[in-house]
């Protein structure tokens, strides 16, 4: 579903953000990406839907080459759902309109069909009652669940998450993770940047550990948690698991 091969990215020649990153996510797989802050996790995941350009290497999503200038990026992105750390709901639109905008403008769905779809998804994330409110009237956890619903409204073939719970108050983390766990169990293909190792243990198939722009470890979940091969991954794990 996602093929990342030998991707390099730099802002200046001396500052390499991604170094020879190669990995893949197959259909129905859940891959968790972790690593210290500044290691390039967000950059890598944003390269997948071409929100960030890169200098060399290739990324294929469902067979479409992301870095091909001829690729219709809006069309490609409409099939790749993305959830951001800071939710990024559109504050000037009601919740239901947040869910309908792209359905109508990008997919060309009629308004009533988009609303029906939007309401179904809101119900699924437990927020049907909030449809007529504005984002600022919702809690962080609620906003993030709306953001997930908004991405799902496009019927994506894969979902990308960039630290979806790290901007949340601790008591709201689980409501968002629950939605993500359900999604994973239904077979959604997911690439998730997160430090929530509980989530990784529950539903991940593989865990990728990044450090300084490199993929240091890329292993099945049990291997990763059992005995990470690299020192850096071991240190990182002991640090985040100790609290």
């Amino acid at each position: 579903m996602i093929e990342i091969s030998h991707v390099n990215k730099w802002y200046t020649p001396s500052f390499q953000v991604l170094t020879d990153c190669t990995t893949s996510v197959t259909k129905g797989e859940v891959v968790v990406v972790c690593g210290p802050s500044g290691s390039g996790k967000s950059t890598l995941i944003k390269c997948v839907n071409a929100l960030e350009p890169f200098q060399s290497g290739d990324i294929l999503v469902d067979g479409t080459k992301v870095n091909d200038p001829k690729t219709n990026l809006p069309k490609l992105r409409s099939r790749v759902g993305m959830v951001f750390q800071h939710f990024e709901l559109f504050p000037h639109l009601k919740i239901i309109d947040n869910l309908c905008l792209a359905q109508e403008k990008v997919l060309g769905r009629p308004h009533d069909k988009s609303v029906t779809k939007g309401m179904q998804l809101l119900e699924r994330v437990g927020l049907k009652e909030q449809a007529q409110k504005f984002p600022a009237q919702l809690s962080g956890g609620q906003q993030q669940r709306v953001a997930i619903a908004r991405a799902l409204a496009m019927d994506p073939i894969v979902m990308l998450f960039d630290e979806p719970t790290s901007a949340l108050d601790p008591e709201m983390v689980s409501e968002v993770l629950d939605v993500m766990v359900d999604l994973a169990r239904e077979g959604m293909t997911m690439m998730v940047v997160t430090h929530e190792m509980g989530f990784a243990r529950k539903v991940a198939n593989r865990v990728i550990f990044m450090d300084r722009g490199e993929i240091v470890e890329d292993a099945p979940k049990d291997d990763f948690f059992g005995k990470p091969r690299s020192d850096r991954a071991q240190k990182f794990l002991s640090k985040i698991l100790s609290h």
Partner: protein, 230 residues
């Protein structure tokens, strides 16, 4: 000194002052603000587009307009437009456009320079995550601007835009150089005709002051409300 003032002249002139004068002033203000906002937003988008040449053209235009006194622009534009029109269409005689059209175009072009700077600040105030989220959903650049960035920029800048429109409302009185009957023009005609300069200009000042004050008060209320929403 006020003993021989005749304030009844104002009462008698009211229909003329408001039906003709104020209607013209408000129409010109409204249309110029609307046109200036549309044209100004286009200039702001040019400057932020990432195309260097477009940005430069818009930048030079804005700087040029902002370094000229408005009265001069109104004046020159009125006399030049017929010739520009003649040159553009290849007509044999200068094309007369009329004082209203001429002043409206002038104000739109002049105000656009100011509105563009306001809208530019408004667009830049939107966090980069917003256009990123819109793109991630598959919206094109144009759709992202139209449905996500510009509505928020406009909403955030509304108080400043209205304040600029209040300035515009006062500036429209400069069309007197074209002997147009706007509110001030009407007042001044009555003043000359009846020899009641003090009364009429005093009254005109009070009217401009009152309307501007009420509008400013409205802006402050609006600002407070926007602060709560955000």
């Amino acid at each position: 000194m006020f003993g021989n003032l005749d304030f009844d002249v104002i009462r008698r002139a009211l229909p003329y002052l408001f039906y003709e004068g104020m209607t013209f002033t408000l129409t010109l203000t409204g249309l110029a603000a609307l046109g200036g906002l549309v044209f100004g937003t286009a200039l702001a988008l040019m400057r932020l587009s990432g195309f260097k040449i477009l940005g430069r053209i818009a930048g030079v235009y804005v700087d040029f307009m902002r370094s000229l006194p408005l009265v001069l622009v109104i004046f020159w534009f009125y006399f030049l437009v017929p010739y520009i029109g003649q040159w553009l269409t290849g007509a044999s005689r200068p094309i007369s456009v009329g004082a209203f059209a001429s002043s409206l175009i002038t104000f739109i072009m002049f105000e656009a320079a100011y509105f563009s700077e306001i809208m530019r600040a408004g667009i830049q105030s939107i966090s980069r995550g917003q256009p990123a989220a819109a793109s991630a959903l598959g919206l094109t650049y144009a759709q992202t601007m139209r449905y996500v960035v510009l509505p928020q920029a406009f909403r955030n800048m509304l108080p400043v835009l209205i304040t600029q429109t209040i300035v515009l409302f006062q500036d429209t009185s400069l069309v007197y150089v074209l002997s147009i009957t706007d509110f001030l023009g009407a007042a001044s005609k009555v003043a000359q005709r009846d020899g009641r300069l003090v009364e009429m200009y005093l009254f005109a000042a009070v009217v401009y002051f009152t309307i501007s004050c009420i509008a400013s008060f409205g802006v402050r209320r609006l600002q407070a409300r926007i602060a709560i929403i955000r």
